[in-house]
Symmetry: C2
Subunit: 157 residues, 2 copies
């Protein structure tokens, strides 16, 4: 479904939903990052999605990565917690407006090959110096920047 | 409202709700921990509660601590993310069964004095060597143990 992201925008619709989600920054042994070209809004992103009942946040992170990229990964750490109420995600199909709620993990690949899905029209290992050239939601770029600056203290916001 | 906690229990009701919550381990400059004696289940706990739309997780952590203890605090770090699907919290009043979802922060007090509320019949600064003597939910004790063992890597589970 189509999504529109709003940032600190007085014209944004009010949040009516809070959906905990995970995002995963998977890096291979050459430091490349596993990225998807999203089907819903044409942006590049790291894999991720909403947590289901019956799974933990790390279960969710591993499942979403496998579904969207074909790669099974192992969680290795935490980049941060992103819950800024000024970032809203509106779904045009049903009027849902989610408030940002993403926990961003790091991971390493275990098995599998990059494989597109209905949610990811391309799945690519991207060199870090190529990230600037990809169209990306500002929140995604910020999370990658936090990862790349590599402090050991997770972002809590 | 009354709550019953289930752990890996085949007789537990199925989860029907996922409510992101914060818990806060506030320590004073002598190392004592801010604890509440809960009104709903007679256990001791650190302050915390569910996130509202319009606030961030850290906003929630600060607000709940203030409401339940009278202490305004500043967040200083992260103990971990606790989202074990085998831990279920059933509310007898309305049949809601939440799956555990708590982010546990560390904090230091800024202003205020321990003040009971409708959710906290007692609010006390507790010496660490007194924690073993308090009745506590197993999940709460585990989170405190993770804090007290003091690794710099947050729990991700």
């Amino acid at each position: 479904m189509a999504r529109i992201d709003y940032y600190d925008d007085p014209d944004a619709p009010a949040a009516n939903s809070l959906v905990p989600s995970a995002n995963v920054i998977v890096t291979d042994n050459t430091g490349r990052i596993l990225m998807i070209h999203r089907s819903d809004n044409d942006n590049w992103a790291v894999p991720g999605g909403a947590m289901d009942l019956g799974e933990s946040m790390t279960d969710c992170a591993i499942r979403e990565t496998r579904e969207e990229t074909g790669i099974t990964c192992e969680i290795t750490g935490l980049v941060g917690i992103y819950t800024d109420p000024r970032h809203l995600i509106h779904y045009t199909s049903d009027g849902e407006t989610r408030q940002e709620f993403s926990i961003v993990f790091t991971a390493r690949p275990l098995t599998g090959e990059p494989t597109p899905s209905s949610e990811s029209r391309q799945v690519v290992w991207v060199d870090r110096d190529q990230l600037d050239g990809l169209t990306m939601d500002p929140s995604m770029r910020r999370r990658l920047d936090h990862f790349l600056t590599g402090t050991t203290t997770p972002h809590l916001g």
